[in-house]
Symmetry: C2
Subunit: 469 residues, 2 copies
C-alpha cells in the first residue's frame, strides 16, 4: 500500500461507507497517524471515526475487498508504534465510541465501548463503590480497546493482574468483517477455545475490539505508600521478599538515582530522602489499621539492620501517598523532552538482579557515553530501560546505536528466558525481533492464526510480525 492512488482509494472508501465520518484534515492525519513513539512520520490515507459496530464492519469489509491496510487506533499512548500509520493506511479511531453501555451491580461488571478511557472506567467504578485496578501514567488518555489490544499492565499488576484478568467479554470485528462475541461476560465457561484471550494482546492484528465487558473489584482497604532508599542492587530482592511476606503489597516499584534526578528536576520536586542512594523503591500496601503500618515499619527496621536500606519515609495521609507516587509516576514525562529510546523488558522475578547487572555491564561496554535511566515493576519482573544519547548526536546515529543495544539486549533476554516486551507490545519498533521472543514453531502457529482471522492481511500490517515474513 502506498499513497500514490490516494484520491481514488479515498473516493472508493467514502462511497462504500457514506454514513461514516472520514477525515483527511492535515491536523487529524497528523494527530491520529502517530502514537507516543516519535520515530516515524504520520502518513495515513484517512482517519475514520465509526460511531457503531456496523460502521466498523462497513469499513473493514471495504478495506478487505480493496486491500486497504487498517490501523486500529485508541488513545495512541503506546510506546512501540502499534498505532503508527506511516504508509497510507486507513486509521480507524474509536474516539466516537466512548459510551458506557451497561452496569451490572450483582456481577460487579460493566460493558463499555472500546473508546472509553481507562480513567473514565476507574472513575465509574469508584462512583459505584467498586474498583478498576489497571492503572498507569497515561490512564487519562489511553482507551480500553487499546489496553486490551496490548494487555496493558501498570503499577497494580502485582496484586490485581493485567488487563487480561479483567476482561470477561469481548466484541470483535475480524479482518473479514465478521463479528465475534467472545465469552459474553461469564466467569466460568468451558465450551471450547477461549478466543477472547487470542485477541487480548494481539495489537490490532487479528481484529478490531469494539466492546468489552470488564470485571470490577471490591474496593480495597486504604493503602499506605513508602519510599525506601536502598544501599544497592543486592538489597533489592531481599527488601521485596521481606516486605511481601510482612504486608499485603499492592505495588513495588523501583527507580535508580538517575531516574530520581530526572523526576525531581522535571517536576520541581525536592528530593524525598536526605540520604542519597543508588536505588529507590516506591511500595504500597493495604493498611486497614495500625497493625499493618507497624508490620511495615518492622520490615523497614529489619532492612536497615541488615544493611539493605539506608533511609525511608512512610506517608501519613492520602495526600502524602500521592506525593510519594509522583517520584515514580512522573519519571516518564520528565525525560520525554530528551527523546529517550524506551525499552520494556521482563524476566522472571528471581532473575531481575542478574539481569540488571548484566545489562549495566552491556551498556557500559557498548555505549558508555549514554545515560541509562531504569525504573519498573520489580514484583512482576518488568523493567523499563530508557536510553538517553549525548547532546549533539544526530537522530539517525542515535537510532542506529540504539538498534545495536536492542540487538544485544534481546539476545540477553532470550538467553535468560525473558521477554523483549513486558507490557508495551511489539508494535512497529520491536516486530523485527519477534524471533528473540518466540520460537520458530510458535511464530509459524501465530502466522497461521493470523490467516484465520485476517486472510487478506489488512489488519495493522508490519506490527507484531516482521515485515519480511
Amino acid at each position: 500500500m502506498n499513497t500514490r492512488n490516494a484520491p481514488g482509494a479515498l473516493r472508493e472508501l467514502q462511497s462504500a461507507c457514506p454514513d461514516v465520518e472520514i477525515s483527511t484534515e492535515p491536523a487529524v492525519l497528523e494527530s491520529h497517524g502517530l502514537d507516543w513513539t516519535r520515530f516515524r512520520d504520520p502518513a495515513p490515507l484517512a482517519v475514520a471515526f465509526p460511531r457503531k459496530l456496523e460502521d466498523v464492519q462497513a469499513l473493514v469489509r471495504h478495506a478487505c475487498g480493496a486491500g486497504l491496510a487498517i490501523v486500529p487506533s485508541g488513545g495512541r499512548t503506546g510506546l512501540s508504534g502499534g498505532a503508527v500509520a506511516a504508509g497510507g493506511e486507513l486509521v480507524v479511531s474509536f474516539d466516537r465510541m466512548r459510551q458506557m453501555l451497561e452496569f451490572d451491580p450483582v456481577d460487579a461488571s460493566i460493558r463499555v465501548e472500546a473508546g472509553m478511557t481507562t480513567g473514565a472506567v476507574q472513575e465509574f467504578a469508584a462512583a459505584n463503590d467498586l474498583y478498576y485496578p489497571v492503572s498507569f501514567a497515561s490512564e487519562g488518555t489511553s482507551q480500553i480497546g487499546g489496553n486490551i489490544a496490548t494487555n496493558a499492565g501498570g503499577i497494580r499488576v502485582l496484586r490485581h493482574g493485567l488487563t487480561r484478568e479483567r476482561v470477561t467479554g469481548l466484541k470483535v470485528v475480524t479482518g473479514t468483517g465478521a463479528v465475534l462475541e467472545c465469552n459474553r461476560g461469564l466467569i466460568k465457561n468451558a465450551s471450547g477455545y477461549d478466543l477472547r484471550h487470542l485477541f487480548i494482546g494481539s495489537e490490532g492484528t487479528l481484529g478490531l475490539i469494539v466492546e468489552a465487558t470488564l470485571r470490577l473489584e471490591r474496593r480495597p482497604p486504604p493503602g499506605k505508600v513508602m519510599l525506601l532508599g536502598l544501599t544497592g542492587l543486592d538489597a533489592l530482592m531481599n527488601v521485596f521478599s521481606d516486605l511481601r511476606r510482612t504486608v499485603a503489597l499492592s505495588a513495588f516499584e523501583f527507580l535508580t538515582d538517575k531516574a530520581l534526578a530526572h523526576v525531581c528536576a522535571g517536576h520541581e520536586l525536592s528530593r524525598p530522602l536526605e540520604t542519597e542512594c543508588p536505588l529507590y523503591v516506591v511500595a504500597e500496601f493495604d493498611c486497614p489499621g495500625d497493625e499493618a503500618e507497624e508490620a511495615a515499619l518492622a520490615s523497614f527496621e529489619r532492612g536497615v539492620e541488615r544493611g539493605w536500606l539506608a533511609d525511608g519515609i512512610i506517608a501519613q495521609s492520602a495526600a502524602q501517598n500521592a506525593e510519594l507516587w509522583r517520584y515514580r509516576e512522573g519519571i516518564s514525562e520528565s525525560i520525554t523532552a530528551l527523546r529517550p529510546y524506551k525499552n520494556d523488558l521482563s524476566v522472571r522475578i528471581s532473575r531481575v538482579p542478574e539481569f540488571l547487572q548484566r545489562m549495566d555491564a552491556l551498556v557500559a561496554e557498548i555505549a558508555s557515553d549514554y545515560e541509562v535511566v531504569w525504573y519498573g515493576h520489580i514484583g512482576d519482573g518488568n523493567l523499563h530501560m530508557n536510553i538517553i544519547g549525548p547532546e549533539g548526536l544526530g537522530p539517525d546515529e542515535f537510532e542506529a546505536r540504539c538498534h545495536e543495544i536492542s540487538n544485544r539486549t534481546y539476545a540477553l533476554t532470550e538467553e535468560m528466558g525473558g521477554s523483549i516486551s513486558a507490557e508495551h507490545g511489539l508494535g512497529l519498533l520491536k516486530s523485527p525481533w519477534l524471533g528473540r521472543a518466540r520460537s520458530a514453531a510458535e511464530i509459524e502457529a501465530m502466522r497461521a492464526i493470523k490467516r484465520v482471522f485476517d486472510p487478506a492481511g489488512i489488519l495493522n500490517p508490519g506490527k507484531l510480525f516482521p515485515n519480511d515474513g
Copy 2:
C-alpha cells in the same frame, strides 16, 4: 478408526516407540479407557505411559503418520467424557510423569510434570508456606494436565480464579509432534499471541500438555465457614450481596434441600440445622480476627430480620470448618450410585435466580417424575444440575429423556447468554451442542485453529467438536 486392524496397528506402534511402556492388559484398557462419566464402554487400542517429553513426541509422531487417534489422559475424573476412549484410540497417560521439576521461592512458582495431582501441588505449596487455591472434590486424583485442559474451577474461583489464572508457562506437544513452550513462567509478556490460553480449556484437542509452570499465592488468613438456611430462592442473591459487601468471601456455595438429604444419608451425617429450609449455603470468609466474625454475624442477623435466613451455624474451629464443608463437598459422591445425569451450567451471576426458576419449571413440565438435585457456585454463576430417574427406568430410556432435558436446558442457557458447560468441558457428552454455546463464526474459527495445531485430526476426535463437522 476402528479396532479391526488392531493387531497390525499395535505392532506398528510398538516398533515405532520401542522405549515407551505400552499396555494392552484388559484391566488397564478398562481403567484408562474411561473417566468418571459412565455412558460408554471403554475400548482403547492400547494405553501408553510416557516418562518424558521425547516419549510423548514419538507417540504423537507415529500416530500422526498412521492416522491413529490419541486420547490424552490425566486423573480421569472428568464428567463430560473428555478422556473416554471407546473406539480403538491410543490413550496417552501421564501417570508416569508426576514429578516436581523446579520450585522458585522468589517467583513463588513451581514447574511440574502434567501428571502431578492437584492435591500434591496443594501439599507442596502448603509445605513451603504458600497456597495453591484450585480446589474441588476430586483433587486427590485429578492431574494438573487435565486441570489445565479443562480449565478446572472448583470452590475457590470466587476469590482466586480458575486454573487459567495460575498457569504462567506451558510445555505442549502439538498434533504434529512439535514442542511449544508457551510464556515460560513470565508474569508480563507482550510479545505476540498468547498461545498458552488457547491450550488452556482445549480438552486435549490441540496438543498434549507435558509440563506447566504454576503461580502460587501467599497463604490466605485463616478462614471461617458458615452454613446458612435460606427461606427461599428469592433470598439467595440478597444473602450473597450482603455477605460479599461485609466480609472477604472466599467461597459461596449453595445446595437444595434434596441435595442435603442425599449428602446426610450417603455419609451418615446428622442435619446441620434444626430448621428445614428449601435452600442452604456454605460460605467461607477470611477471619484474621474477631472483627470479621462479628461482621459476618451482623450480616446473618440482617438476613434473619429481612426474612432471607431462617437458621445458621458458624464454625468455631478448623475441625468444624471441615465438618460444615462436608455438607457441600460430599454431595457428588453421595449420589454417584444413583447414576445421575450430571450437568454443569453457567449464567451471569445476576441471572442465577431467574435461571433456577425457569429450569425448575422446565423440569416440572417435561420430567415431573424425575428428581433434580441442584448445587453449585453461586458467586461464579455456576450451577450443577443432577437428574435422577425413577427406579426401574431402563438406561436407554433414561438417556433419551435426559437428552431431551439437555436440548431444552441448552436452549435456555443460550437464550439467557449462559454456557452449556461452566467447568467440566464439552468432552464427548456435550460436543453435539457446541452450537448452543458458540456462534457459527466462532466455531468456524475454532475449527481452523484446530487444523493449525492438529492437521491430521488425531487429537481427541469427537471431543469438544461434534463428530459431524
